[in-house]
Symmetry: C2
Subunit: 170 residues, 2 copies
């Protein structure tokens, strides 16, 4: 039955609800793709595992919630990309995003584009994060994002100073 | 039966194993106390809830692991006090501790002594932390410990700068 077999190997059709693309409970899908996008669209990716999602064009924002081993590649995002409650994720920025927020996530490896070197990262309660900066001919320099911090009272004891802990893993 | 009733209201006897005091699975015990201590002793408090533990004298280190709603009060610690996987904890330093480490913990309120204002706090993957600084006559000033951070690439794109995010909760 060649028709059935062909259908089974196609990635599932993703659904647009109003201005929100919802990608839920996708497992072992290496070729998920959203390509009918515009700047009003948001993308919400929830409880996916072992999958890769490609978002073509420019969208407003992307949220990955409770995903494990998910790769995300997108062209452009107007406001922010957010990871929350994820494990072992990868993100490739093709064009540009102003802000990437990472919360309660272990394993988040961000590959920036040459146009997106000023992306701001907002992190909390997360570990194993790296920023990968393109240089030369398709190579990347990996820089770890601090995950442990050192805090001391300032003289006068009315405020604190907090800095990344260089000897992390103490 | 007055004898039985008196026995039931006594806190459980805590156990010293070698140089390690182990306080495990204690629930709703407001008056736990360890008072036969010396500088070689470590204290390991595990899976306790709704309890308060008082440690008299000077010990080497104290670890609170997987505790909820636990209050700890101690005189002096030689190396460090560590919180890991805890929720809603309080700590009062009567005399001195050089380092307090807080990991994977939500809710950790530290009350310092006037002799321990230079305590260093090492934090990771934690939230709702405060340092409370004594002033005047038994009053405390509460200062929140940063839990969200902002990271950007430095010029040259070979390193990152990470600072506490002032507008936390973005």
């Amino acid at each position: 039955m060649p028709t059935l077999s062909t259908t089974a190997s196609q990635p599932p059709k993703l659904v647009l609800e109003g201005n929100k693309w919802v990608v839920e409970y996708q497992h072992n899908q290496p070729n998920l793709k959203i390509d009918e996008t515009n700047m009003k669209h948001t993308v919400y990716i929830y409880k996916c595992t072992n999958s890769t999602i490609r978002i073509v064009g420019k969208v407003n924002s992307i949220v990955l919630d409770s995903c494990t081993k998910v790769g995300l590649q997108f062209d452009s995002v107007v406001s922010l990309v957010e990871f929350i409650n994820c494990k072992s994720t990868k993100l490739q920025v093709i064009d540009f995003v102003p802000t990437i927020q990472i919360e309660k996530t272990d394993g988040c490896h961000i590959y920036l584009s040459k146009k997106s070197l000023q992306t701001e990262f907002i992190t909390s309660k997360s570990s194993e994060m790296t920023v990968n900066v393109p240089f030369g001919d398709g190579e990347y320099r990996e820089i770890p994002v601090p995950e442990q911090f050192k805090t001391k009272l300032n003289p006068g004891e009315k405020s604190l100073t907090t800095v990344p802990n260089e000897s992390a893993g103490v």
